[in-house]
């Protein structure tokens, strides 16, 4: 199953990922991204990939 990766150091807390995939991403009180799940289904992949791509800090990726 596709795995979610986040580079917490790169994250700037813009929150775009959460707008796109609130079931996969959130931010903590310091404004850093938190992964709500480690793996996603193949069916969810296009939507979550779209959300990852909307990160202005390039902090998110998805690994097969």
């Amino acid at each position: 199953m596709p795995r979610l990766l986040a580079d917490v150091k790169a994250c700037q807390g813009y929150g775009n990922c959460i707008t796109g995939a609130p079931d996969a991403y959130d931010i903590d009180d310091d404004g850093k991204v938190v992964l709500l799940t480690e793996e996603i289904s193949d069916a969810d992949r296009p939507r979550v990939e779209e959300a990852a791509r909307s990160c202005p800090a390039n902090a998110l990726s998805i690994e097969d």
Binding site: Q12, G13, Y14, G15, N16, I18, T19, I27, D28, D29, G31, P46, E49, E50, R53, S54, P56
Partner: protein
């Protein structure tokens, strides 16, 4: 319906690149050609006034699409060649080198250009839109001479903060007394003025510029109040204009951007779409045509257009909540919605302490939430962003932020 065979995307910055990538994510199996006039591989613009201008971030760090990623997604790159015109009847993009590309669907992603400076001394006056602009400006900022910034909007304020961080003496000039007040309202706009002064940057707001004369290293800026400023470098940040001139003879309706329907489809050509800064579309939530110069709008419109090309039987509307960020000095600013139309606002938190963190929430007369401005508080912005999207009430959101503030108010 089958995929159109060839999609030509014109403009290879964030809106164009994300359209091409999203087409693949959406399962589009045809040919994708990405045309861009800049010779460099696609790069991202927001860092040009921030981390790239200070020199902290390299070209690699601001890349939007590497050659390998383009090849892997089967996106054909045609870089370093501008589109000269669009032939809607024959479905062709004509490039400046005389070659043509036939399309089944065209996506216009030519963005915007910096509004040119009305003054043109031989050298030393900069605008900031491209990587080439940022490199030229960075070279001049290395010279230890005062910097004058004309325009106190987002780009001007960011460049002021960056030039100040590089050790330059900086003055910002703008005919408005609180330039960012145009976006966040007058009162909160004043806080943005204080932000400059608190960091030792001089503001000349409410004053216009008469002329700029001289050359790089030795410029004189004449102001309308009769005073003069000496500068080594002048940066002009007075807005942007959409790159739609090349479409003049196309027959498309162009009016400060390419006029599109709610699906981001040109109103007079069903196989032509627009995305990003050049898009003027009918926003179903606002009930009017708008054009938005924000990064997130570029990405969101790209996703909508990619979907609509790949799945024409289930067209999506582009109905975003406006969102933009800006980094100025020790403020990470995030703005959601349309604060400027509001009639009242409440500030939660503190923006002027040594560790500023707070949010201003805006409402109209009916108590509906209009938008919010958050400083160094991403979590609050997220709450507001969701609330604006859901049409929540102002009082609700203020109460939520109060709770969040109390919960997060651990001693520093």
């Amino acid at each position: 319906m089958t995929d159109p065979r060839t999609v030509v995307v014109v403009g290879a910055s964030v809106a164009g690149v994300r359209t091409a990538q999203s087409l693949r994510t959406e399962g589009f199996g045809g040919r994708i050609v990405l045309v861009g006039d800049e010779p460099d591989l696609p790069y991202d613009k927001p860092p040009l006034s921030k981390q790239f201008l200070t020199g902290c971030w390299s070209v690699e760090r601001i890349a939007l699409l590497t050659a390998e990623a383009a090849a892997a997604a089967e996106i054909e790159l045609r870089l370093g060649v501008a589109a000269q015109r669009l032939d809607v009847a024959d479905r062709q993009v004509v490039l400046i080198d005389g070659s043509t590309i036939d399309y089944d669907a065209a996506v216009l992603a030519t963005g915007a250009a910096a509004r040119p400076a009305p003054w043109s001394p031989t050298s030393g006056v900069h605008v900031l839109r491209s990587m080439a602009d940022a490199r030229a400006l960075r070279d001049d900022l290395e010279v230890d001479r005062p910097v004058v910034i004309i325009g106190g909007g987002f780009i001007g304020a960011e460049v002021a903060a960056t030039a100040h961080a590089l050790g330059r003496e900086v003055t910002v000039v703008d005919p408005l007394s609180a330039p960012i007040g145009r976006v966040v309202g007058r009162e909160v706009g004043e806080l943005f003025v204080d932000l400059h002064t608190r960091h030792g940057v001089t503001t000349k707001f409410g004053v216009g510029v008469e002329s700029v004369e001289g050359e790089a290293g030795d410029l004189t800026v004449q102001l309308t109040d009769g005073s003069q400023l000496a500068a080594g470098t002048v940066v002009v940040g007075i807005g942007a204009v959409p790159n739609d001139g090349w479409l003049a003879g196309s027959g498309l309706l162009v009016d400060d951007g390419v006029v599109c329907d709610e699906h981001c489809r040109a109103v007079d050509a069903a196989d032509v779409y627009a995305v990003g800064d050049v898009l003027r579309w009918f926003h179903p939530g606002h009930g009017e045509h708008v054009r938005v110069e924000h990064w997130t709008n570029a990405v969101e419109s790209a996703a909508v257009v990619a979907h609509n090309i790949a799945h024409p039987e289930e067209l999506r509307s582009h109905c975003p909540v406006e969102y933009v960020w800006s980094d100025q000095y020790d403020w990470k600013i995030q703005i959601v919605g349309r604060p400027v139309g509001a009639t009242r606002h409440t500030l939660v938190g503190d923006l002027t302490s040594a560790h500023p963190r707070g949010a201003a929430v805006y409402a109209d007369d009916s108590g509906d939430l209009r938008g919010a401005v958050a400083v160094n508080w991403p979590k609050a912005l997220l709450v507001c962003r969701r609330a604006v999207g859901a049409g929540a009430s102002f009082d609700d959101v203020v109460a939520q932020l109060d709770r969040l503030s109390a919960a997060g108010a651990a001693p520093a």
